[in-house]
Symmetry: C2
Subunit: 219 residues, 2 copies
DNA sequence: GTGTATATCTCGGGG
DNA sequence: CCCCGAGGTATACAC
């Protein structure tokens, strides 16, 4: 990783056009060739960036970064204040706990916590517009499509609605109903769900994890 | 901005739990107190981060970053390889051209490029679930709601559908129809739009910009 | 503050 | 390669 602090202007042209007036910034060049330009505020987003793979041409005080997609980033440096390189090696990567995938795994193992008598038919049931999180059958034998979210918002209701439309085109599943299962569901999502005869169920993630016999903690 | 290269482990606890095994990484502390931890690959996202405002406690080789929302990031350093501080000053910020806002401004000035005879009634017409980009009337006097996107995808059709449902509850607008206007529209979005009697119109941004008398180039 | 939409979203997975 | 969905999304803006 190369770290350069320089007074510079930057021009990006690609998915849109963008320009940075002259100021002092950090220019980060990583081992994979990607480039990010950071100001001294805002943790997350660089002001400008180019993802790998890139071609970087250094010509005096002008750096030109291009990528196969036709995007182009030009950094014009007027004053170089720091320039250092560091060998970091590869990163083992982030280990996460508590994302939607875990919630889906737990609910697939314990569908009865969504609704009494609910039985799993298939996880990630495929439709031609994407996979439904859980396809189940309820105590009466009726098919139930379950969309799982950490946060239940309008988008989740729209998504489940699209899936239900598709699933219902299969004659054997034409009376499928929908459930939105989430750790918390916003009033707007509840309202839209109600208008579309979709049930809402809130899930207690910690209680659910307590049902797992082995308590598979990641760290 | 302070730049530290160190061999470290990192633990985050907050909206989820996350852990980084020991490796060498860049730790960036910006003037506003935010912290980002970068590996040597991937331009955009830090592995872990804490947005300002933060409280940072340095205790020997352990840094503890906490924020008012109860999130907590702990960096345990086993080897310090680089530590430098740099005065960057404030950044004038990024100037952009070609985002959706510009497209909306241009189309508001030239609604006839969307459809012959179309006349603007109101930009950002408010509904109780959000603003419609353009509300217009067509040559026959019928109301038309226009949703503008740079890229026309399914979400845009869903969004316009929700607005149309709301707008039609107003008796004076009950026969409003919808147009999705975008620089490019995906087949999936076209299919969904067709199923909902929403028209699709592709927009040539450069040609549209050429219609502006003053050619308001930003840089 | 909540609610909504945008983003050069990024990133990863599946066909 | 495209398509789709998740994200500690972040970020801006209106109410």
């Amino acid at each position: 990783m190369r770290l350069v602090i320089a007074r510079c202007t930057v021009d990006y042209s690609g998915r849109l056009d963008a320009h940075l007036p002259e100021a002092t910034r950090l220019i980060m060049v990583k081992a994979d060739g990607c480039v990010a330009i950071h100001a001294d505020g805002g943790a997350y987003k660089p002001l400008n960036w180019m993802n790998a793979p890139n071609r970087l041409i250094e010509q005096d005080n002008v750096w030109e970064v291009t990528n196969p997609g036709g995007e182009r980033l030009v950094i014009t440096m007027t004053e170089l204040l720091h320039d250092s390189a560091h060998e970091l090696g590869s990163d083992p990567g982030l280990v996460k706990d508590g994302v939607e995938k875990h919630l889906q795994e737990l609910l697939a193992d314990h569908p009865e916590t969504i609704e009494e008598g609910l039985v799993l038919v298939r996880r990630e049931h495929a439709t031609d517009i994407g996979p439904v999180d859980l396809l189940c059958r309820d105590a009466s034998g009726q098919a139930v499509a379950v969309e799982i979210k950490r946060k239940g918002e309008i988008d989740g209701v729209e998504q489940l609605t699209r899936y239900l439309d598709r699933i219902r085109q299969d004659p054997s599943l034409k009376d499928v109903r929908g459930i939105l299962a989430a750790q918390a569901i916003k009033p707007q999502a509840r309202a839209l769900a109600a208008a579309r005869d979709i049930d809402c169920v809130t899930i207690d993630y910690d209680a659910l994890r307590g049902l797992e016999p082995t308590e598979p903690r990641l760290f």
